[in-house]
């Protein structure tokens, strides 16, 4: 799984914001805000990775249980499956 191109993530005033550019801006109007975990996973899925790899990356980065990490990744993957991932 990988985030589609044409979506840029930046911090604006400490808020993690994703906006569409180019072709993507014609399909998707608006913006997404992400919490810290969301921003971490967004950057991780900028490269092609599996869900299992994302869980491992979350566990390595944050002090969370495997159960929470799996839940977070599953939620994130579901959200980006709505047209933001390939």
């Amino acid at each position: 799984m990988k985030i589609k191109s044409g979506l840029i993530l930046r911090s604006v005033g400490g808020e993690n914001v994703v906006v569409p550019v180019g072709e993507m801006s014609k399909k998707f109007h608006g913006m997404i805000t992400l919490n810290e975990t969301g921003a971490f996973l967004w950057k991780f899925f900028a490269e092609d990775h599996t869900q299992e790899e994302a869980v491992a990356a979350l566990l390595a980065e944050y002090d969370v249980s495997e159960e929470i990490a799996q839940k977070d990744v599953a939620k994130f993957v579901e959200a980006i499956s709505q047209g933001f991932a390939e």
Binding site: S11, G13, V21
Partner: protein, 238 residues
């Protein structure tokens, strides 16, 4: 083609309809010879896309709208951007009032002009901001919204005030993240990567450096007093 001095830039406007020449005449550059910082024109595709929108507008007006949009799309790479807001100047400091259309930007800024001496409207609707020497400058432009209020001037931007209608008057300071969430809808986001990234970078600076407030207000002088004292840090003159 004519060169205009707008927001500290030499802009070459290649219009076909006369409308824009009259519209921008107060900004015509004395120097028509030196190179321009940017050039704009409107493609047929852009013109007809705009013309297909509801409303019965003249071709000159439609071209004029498209020209400004094309100017604004190129601004971020020149450290500038359009902030949809009403900007007032008081004692050489500029303050931006923001809100969805219909929230009362022109009503509230009109009350500032009525109750306070020495207030000038920089631009009632579509000012340009420039990031320069670690501060933001607010510029008047020929494009001023339907009321046509504004002047060819510039002043440092010292505060942002988001407006909401309310039965009571109240002002609170916003964090940069809260201001960020409110400001996106007031900015034209360019569609090319470079200018979009630059816009986000400029917005990050804006909400981090310039203090932001949320004013919940009635139509009253009391509301003016609240926003005046928060934005200027001065006592409201009696």
């Amino acid at each position: 083609m004519m060169i205009y001095d707008i927001a500290g830039l030499r802009i070459d406007i290649q219009n076909r309809c006369k409308f824009t020449e009259k519209f921008c005449e107060g900004y015509l550059s004395d120097n028509q010879i030196s190179a321009a910082d940017l050039s704009v024109f409107v493609t047929n595709e852009e013109f007809y896309a705009e013309k297909s929108n509801p409303g019965n507008f003249s071709d000159g007006y439609i071209e004029n709208i498209c020209l400004y949009r094309n100017i604004c799309k190129q601004l971020p790479n020149l450290d500038r951007f359009l902030l949809h807001s009403a900007i007032l100047q008081y004692e050489n400091e500029a303050f931006a009032f923001l809100g969805k259309s219909g929230t009362g930007k022109s009503t509230h800024t009109g009350l500032w002009c009525k109750h306070l001496d020495g207030v000038r409207i920089v631009n009632g609707d579509k000012p340009i901001l420039q990031w320069k020497d670690n501060e933001f400058l607010a510029y008047g432009t020929p494009w001023m919204g339907k009321e046509g209020l504004g002047s060819n001037t510039v002043a440092p931007l010292k505060g942002l005030c988001f407006l909401e209608q309310s039965p009571i008057n109240e002002i609170v300071r916003l964090t940069p993240a809260q201001a960020a969430n409110r400001i996106f809808t007031q900015v034209l986001m360019p569609q090319d990567m470079e200018n979009a990234e630059k816009t986000l970078e400029l917005l990050d600076k804006l909400v981090t450096i310039v203090p932001s407030y949320l004013l919940k207000c009635t139509i009253s002088e009391e509301a003016v007093k609240l926003s005046f004292e928060a934005l200027t840090g001065k006592k409201y003159p009696l």
